[in-house]
Amino acid sequence: MSENILSVEDLTVSFDGFRAVDSLNFYVEKDELRCVIGPNGAGKTTLLDMICGKTRPTGGSIRFKRFDLTDMLEYQITRVGVGRKFQNPSVYEDLTVFENLEISYPKRRGLMGSLFFKRDADLLAKIDEVSERIFLHEVLRHKAGQLSHGQKQWLEIGMLLMQDPELLLLDEPVAGMSAKEREQTASLLNAISKGRSIVVIEHDMAFVRMIAHKVTVLHQGRMLAEGTMDQVQADERVKDVYLGH
């Protein structure tokens, strides 16, 4: 049993009395690629929002390595090594692909540091490597706003790779992608999961099957089942929830 990099315990958040996430326990191990599935409104995105600091939990704790993320600000959580990709690709459309990647480089993010930042060989090598990986090397000089939906998804993954996080939180990374792009993304995620932990929210079961080590099923803010893809798919309660919809 390897150690947990992320421990979410008894996590609860309610919006006007509605418990979007309800006393949830959720653990992610080092080097694990975990998929979180569940019907709409199961609390998947809210869970990621709380881990990365976007939403404040009403109760419970979130520990990442030795840090208690519960009271940290978004940028502080990012700096200790948690990267977040949003459901709608969030890239800086007015900047080029190169600049999007450059801005994500995890050095000199203070005021003076960024004012006197100089591009060095490390940065360029890293951008070279990442842009190759996310299939965008040809379009480095293009404005991010000109990219296709699928390319924006890749760019956002690339921005996370620049940050070199130990924990990656990806919300529907293949939404709006063609079948071929999905396959490319699956092999990309498999490649980058070496040496870091990844949590992926996804609806596309074929895609989940391609990448998941372990699957967590959420339903109405609670954990319904957890296990390998086969175990989860064989689970009667999971069938009920999905067939019921």
């Binding site: 976007k54 940028y75 007015d94 900047l95 960024s114 004012l115 360029l124 000089r141 921005m159």
Partner: protein
């Protein structure tokens, strides 16, 4: 192609915009204007400092400040306090009234029966306090006030309203506290700066040049900031502030910083204004002038630091021209000018450049002789350019 024979290309104007501005300010205007007109130009250029700052905070930071008059006013009043105390100390005829009453206070304090110089006037006896204060105080005030707001994630519109309130408050305080601020008349009637008489033409011309140089330095500082990583972060914040937090930056800090830079520019402009116009007035602090400064930036092009300077000069010159020639309704003409520019030139004067013919490709083919950045341009257009090559070429 017609585009290929355009006499000046857009790229040329953009690349050398600051050089062209320097030539206009330092050579064309002084050679073509008489001393009175040059004085007017100096006045508009003092206000251009604010417009340059507004391009930084509004065009690139997405923060619309309707309170730059506050920082202009702080710089202007601090300089005026120093000048007033200096002229009060010197026994000139202007202080006859004070001496008549056996007082060594500034004249307006005497009229208002103020018997002792307020403690916060005292340090402005010294130039070594005044100048650092002009450079430090407004940015610090701007940083602290805006950081508190940005940290609490006050929305952009609400922040605009807060800045508007600040400019109104400062103007009201100045007018209300007549005894220590000079009230609605402002602080005026001073002739010397550190013993130098400000009236002779050659001093005025020197002041004009100092203003121009300072303004160009501000434009250069702004350019440096925008080209740095900080500038990119700023654009990212403007477009997607929420996302920037997840890139590991604290947006509040960056926004407060750029706001402080704009405040510094405004304060310098205010000080230069007072030195040249001989006045610090609440009419340059309140809401109307603050909004006018935004108009300068909008007319010049809110994404163009250089454009802001032209915007300030153009609007200033138009004000003068219209008010001299159409005394009755010149304000309507200014309003009309603003509407026309906003409607037809959403990117201001700088947007005119985009209407010039001459796409990059044509320019490369058309310009005779070596194109200084041809290699960089080519690299930019070559889609598969390797980064290693671009270190030398592009940057």
């Amino acid at each position: 192609m017609a585009a290929a024979i355009a006499p000046v290309s857009r790229g040329f104007l953009q690349r050398y915009a600051i050089v062209i501005l320097a030539v206009v300010l330092l050579a064309v205007l002084p050679l073509s204007l008489d001393i009175f007109r040059l004085g007017l130009a100096a006045k508009y250029l003092s206000l251009a400092f604010c417009a340059v700052g507004i391009v930084l905070i509004w065009g690139y930071g997405g923060i619309l400040s309707l309170g730059q008059g506050v920082f202009f006013g702080l710089g202007s009043y601090m300089m005026a306090m120093f000048l007033k105390l200096e002229s009060t100390g010197a026994d000139t005829s202007a202080q006859a009234l004070s001496s008549f009453f056996g007082s060594n206070l500034p004249d307006f304090m005497v009229w208002n029966s103020v018997e002792q110089l307020p403690w916060w006037w005292e340090p402005f006896h010294h130039v070594w306090f005044t100048i650092p204060a002009i450079l430090i105080l407004p940015p610090v005030v701007a940083f602290v006030l805006s950081y508190l707001n940005f940290r609490r994630r006050i929305g952009d519109v609400y922040f605009s309203i807060i800045t508007l309130a600040f400019s109104a408050i400062l103007a009201i305080v100045i007018i209300g506290q007549q005894g220590v601020t000079g009230g609605v008349n402002g602080i005026t009637d001073f002739r010397t700066f550190m013993g130098i008489n400000l009236d002779p033409d050659n001093v005025k011309i020197a002041m004009y040049y100092i203003t121009c140089v300072l303004l160009l330095v501000c434009v250069l500082i702004g350019t440096f900031i925008l080209r740095s990583r900080l500038g990119k972060v700023l654009v990212a914040i403007r477009d997607r502030e929420d996302r920037v937090r997840f890139s590991g930056y604290d947006p509040a800090l960056f926004k407060a910083f750029i706001f402080a830079v704009a405040a510094l520019f405004s304060s310098i402009g205010g000080a230069m204004f007072t030195l040249q116009v001989g006045l610090a007035s609440p009419s340059l602090v309140g809401i109307t002038p603050s909004i006018e400064m935004v108009i300068y930036a909008a007319v010049g092009g809110r994404l163009s630091l250089v454009g802001a300077v032209y915007g300030a000069m153009l609007v200033g010159a138009a004000k003068t021209f219209f008010s001299e020639n159409f005394v009755e309704f010149w304000l309507y003409l200014i309003g009309g000018l603003f509407i026309v520019i906003v409607m037809f030139l959403p990117h201001g004067l700088a947007g005119l450049l985009d209407k010039l013919p001459g796409a990059k490709r044509h320019r490369l083919a058309a310009l005779p002789g070596p194109e200084p950045d041809a290699a960089g341009q080519a690299a930019g257009e070559r889609p598969a350019a390797r980064l290693a090559g671009e270190v030398g070429g592009g940057k």
